[in-house]
């Protein structure tokens, strides 16, 4: 499942740019908009043209077991050949977070991805 989510972190070794999903792969990431004190210039790793990526967002692929049920009703936006979730209701987000708390009980309360 492909989802556009907010990026967290400051790009330092202890606080890398990342997505608060337990398991994911980055398709494209835009860390523009990071704090001015960040140590380096932004990464604009955009392997596909025309992916709409606002500042500090990423398009990621996550396992269906982690998100499909909770985001089943979310609208899909066609990006190139990918069907991407770019918005979700508060109820869908709450269901997603609750599901991650159960599936990854050792990290309950830690994984709080925000669909962007």
């Amino acid at each position: 499942m492909f989802i556009r989510v907010q990026v967290i972190g400051t790009g330092t070794p202890r606080d890398p740019y990342r997505v608060p999903f337990p398991t994911y792969s980055v398709v494209a990431i835009n860390t523009l908009g990071m704090p001015a004190s960040a140590p380096t210039t932004p990464d604009l790793a955009l392997p596909f043209a025309n992916i709409p990526l606002p500042a500090m967002t990423a398009l990621v692929e996550v396992p269906g077991e982690d998100a499909t049920d909770a985001l089943a009703g979310a609208p899909l936006v066609k990006v190139q050949t990918l069907d991407v979730v770019m918005s979700a209701t508060p109820d869908q987000l709450a269901a997603l977070h609750a599901h991650l708390d159960v599936r990854y009980a050792e990290h309950a309360g830690a994984f709080r991805p925000q669909v962007a």
């Binding site: 070794p13 999903f21 599936r103």
Partner: protein, 139 residues
């Protein structure tokens, strides 16, 4: 536990194969970025059976800075540590390194692994690849 064990081998315990791999082609300087993360679900374990870590400079920087590509181990109890690192300090196009490891060991429920990189240069581009082959199974 009786010996011989009455448990089946790990690969016979509802095992699934997982491949994490991201190729970041000719990207500019950036802070530390997790290209992928894998976390072991509750009730499961995982064996990281093979990895590849690749870096290649594709455009010269001015000046060059430290380039890193690495796997970061995230224990369920907290903390983090690099398990395999490539560091590149040279500035010639096509300079790079390619590491393959047979294993990064086993992960327990809640443990995590990332494929990550950073480039502290000014200008220039680098291609990164971090790949891991993982078998996840009932704990």
């Amino acid at each position: 536990m009786p010996w011989p064990s009455d448990r089946t081998a790990f690969y016979d315990r509802n095992a699934t194969t997982i491949l994490k791999s991201v190729v970041s082609s000719s990207v500019g300087p950036h802070g530390g970025t997790n290209r992928w993360t894998y976390t072991v679900p509750t009730g499961r374990k995982a064996s990281v059976q093979g990895t590849r870590n690749f870096v290649q400079r594709t455009a010269a920087a001015a000046p060059v800075g430290q380039v890193q590509s690495y796997f970061n181990f995230l224990p369920a109890a907290g903390g983090a540590g690099q398990l395999g690192v490539i560091e590149l300090f040279t500035n010639t196009v096509n300079d790079g390194a390619d590491q393959t490891w047979s294993s990064l060991g086993d992960l327990l429920a809640g443990d995590g692994l990332t494929g990550s990189d950073s480039d502290a240069s000014t200008g220039g581009t680098v291609t990164f690849t971090q790949t891991a082959k993982i078998v996840e199974y009932d704990g």
